[in-house]
């Protein structure tokens, strides 16, 4: 019985205060929680959020409708139809991403040979309607124009072809 009492005494007067002292210390520390709706979280550079389609500095679209992003996509959520301008430049007449199917794996931006598609930092695009998640080309371009433009310079690292036709005569011979 004495041992029992000693055990109880130990648990009440030693074990519990030891644990509580650890919890108690946290009262005086800075909280680590983020005040999300009030303060927008900061993401790392590589964060993969809502897609955007980029433009050349003259305002024309970079995407040439090659379909490589759709081929790389594991979720099969990119749909496009191609067309040509009178001067013979290919572009995507329709370019749609179903953001509900998308798993944000980033394989489209890895695949794109034109640096036309990227995953940006936008993440608040909830809606009550499924149709709102079919992002058309215009919406994806608007995402670039309105939100992602200043960040894109960082993403398009090589920035070789700032102008559309510059690549015909590269500054130095490359590769083979």
């Amino acid at each position: 019985m004495n041992i029992d009492m000693w055990q109880t005494f130990k648990s009440v007067f030693i074990a519990i205060p030891t644990g509580l002292s650890i919890t108690f210390r946290y009262l005086f520390r800075k909280p680590v929680t983020e005040q999300y709706p009030k303060v927008r979280p900061k993401f790392e550079d590589r964060y993969r959020g809502l897609h955007y389609l980029t433009r050349y500095s003259d305002g024309s679209e970079r995407c040439v409708c090659c379909g490589l992003c759709a081929a790389a996509c594991p979720a099969d959520c990119i749909y496009m139809e191609c067309a040509e301008t009178p001067s013979g430049i290919r572009y995507a007449r329709i370019y749609e991403i179903n953001e509900l199917r998308c798993i944000f794996c980033g394989m489209c931006e890895e695949a794109c040979p034109e640096e036309a598609i990227f995953l940006g930092h936008e993440f608040e695009f909830s809606s009550g309607d499924r149709d709102d998640f079919i992002y058309t080309k215009e919406m994806l371009l608007a995402n670039y124009d309105k939100i992602e433009k200043e960040r894109v310079a960082k993403r398009i690292k090589p920035m070789i072809r700032q102008e559309r036709f510059q690549f015909k005569k590269p500054a130095a011979p490359i590769g083979h």
Binding site: G19, T23, V32, A71, I103, L119, G175, H176
Partner: protein, 390 residues
């Protein structure tokens, strides 16, 4: 027995302490468990079947979603299985980064285990502390790959991309702050009387039983068997690092708890050594048949562009054959069996998920004990239902 009544109680799949959607049928006699039958399949997502319809690279994104608490371990076993089949040489820098990231994954998984296990038993603040530390690791995932959970960071032949600048400082920061946190967890739990009463002698499984049931990982080591694939069958470059495999004695919940805590410390040791030895160099295999050319070359060279197209559309084709590869995931031995018919898509992918095998020994852990111990045992064997059902 005639005067006693056996009651069958259904626990789960919506029970908060079943860590997902596990359902357990319990035969009870009063409060004593006669038999426990885990019933799985509520989270079946058809991952293995789905992988057959994707190229090898695309199918990688599915592996993240099996054990979503240890996505990079799943990535690793899958890409290493393909690398073994194709005999690909992985650059040494990529191997080091893989080790750092998978060991961080081990911390990640163990932290969630500790937080939820302690919460089940009644220690609320543990969950908050563990998730606070885990946040740093998910931040690391986001830092290197862009996503906090489904990283898909490894590729056949290396990594998606080299780590960004500042990687080493951030890993160092984790290394410096983490040991103090583990001490804190120990301070809260190890000598806590309630914790000890709820875990010591609960869910005992002997070494023979554990081996017979095919247990692996901390569940096996808690019973005193020093079997860790990182040591027993070194893969990647684990033979270069100095670490010990902690083992328990009694095979109860408390020993498994101690083993996992010590494993976190050992993981930190491995990360520190890997970080000190981190070499410079490429992070993708130089084999052009597997790794796409660098983005810069794709943008400037015609040949590279064509090659890039071919790789994305047709992928790579491993030779006809099959392979089994296994690594030590935080939960135990995760194996990947891969059959290739020589096309760009796997003919069959099968995983040996540690959680699935571990849960099969559940009855041994709880039979004859009180119903309250069932909760402690579920927490202690550390299952993830995404991995069990695939």
């Amino acid at each position: 027995m005639a005067d006693r009544e056996t009651m069958t109680l259904n626990m789960g799949p919506q029970h908060p302490a079943t860590h997902g959607v596990l359902r357990i049928e319990l035969d009870l006699e009063g409060e004593t468990v006669i038999e426990a039958r885990p019933i799985v399949g509520y989270l079946h997502t058809g991952i293995e079947k789905n992988m057959e319809a994707k190229t090898y690279t695309q199918a990688l994104t599915m592996t993240d979603r099996m054990d979503y608490l240890a996505p990079l371990s799943n990535n690793l076993v899958y890409v290493q299985a393909i690398e073994k089949l194709m005999e690909v040489e992985v650059p040494i820098r990529a191997e080091y980064i893989r080790i750092i990231m998978t060991e961080l994954t081990r911390l990640n998984s163990h932290l969630v285990w500790l937080g939820t296990h302690a919460l089940d038993i009644g220690a609320m603040s543990m969950l908050l502390y563990c998730f606070r530390e885990r946040e740093k690791i998910t931040q690391m995932y986001e830092f290197v790959s862009g996503v906090r959970m489904m990283a898909s960071y490894f590729r056949v032949g290396g990594l998606t991309d080299d780590v960004p600048d500042g990687f080493e400082e951030r890993v160092k920061d984790i290394l410096d702050t983490f040991p103090a946190h583990i001490d804190e967890y120990e301070g809260l739990l190890t000598d806590n009387k309630i914790w000890r009463n709820r875990t010591i002698g609960v869910g005992v499984i002997s070494a023979e039983d554990a081996i017979d049931a095919g247990l692996s990982g901390p569940n096996l080591r808690g019973s005193g068997v020093a079997w860790d694939l990182r040591k027993s069958k070194p893969y990647s470059i684990y033979d270069k690092f100095d670490f010990i495999v902690p083992v328990g004695k009694n095979g109860d919940c408390y020993d498994r708890y101690l083993v996992r805590l010590e494993e976190m410390r050992q993981s930190l040791r491995i990360i520190r050594q890997a970080l000190d030895g981190l070499p410079e160099g490429p992070t993708k295999s130089s084999d052009g048949k597997i790794s796409p050319p660098a983005k810069y070359e794709v943008l400037t060279g015609m040949e590279q562009l064509i090659h890039h197209f071919k790789l994305v559309v047709h992928g790579f084709q491993p030779p006809v054959g099959d392979i089994y590869h296994s690594i030590e995931s935080p939960k135990g031995e995760i194996g990947c069996y891969l059959v290739s018919d020589g096309s760009k898509k796997p003919y069959r992918v099968h995983f040996r998920p540690p959680s699935f095998v571990n849960i099969s020994a559940f009855n041994k852990l709880v039979a004859g004990r009180m119903i309250a111990d069932v909760i402690a045992c579920i927490g202690s064997i550390d299952i993830v239902l995404g991995e069990i059902d695939r």
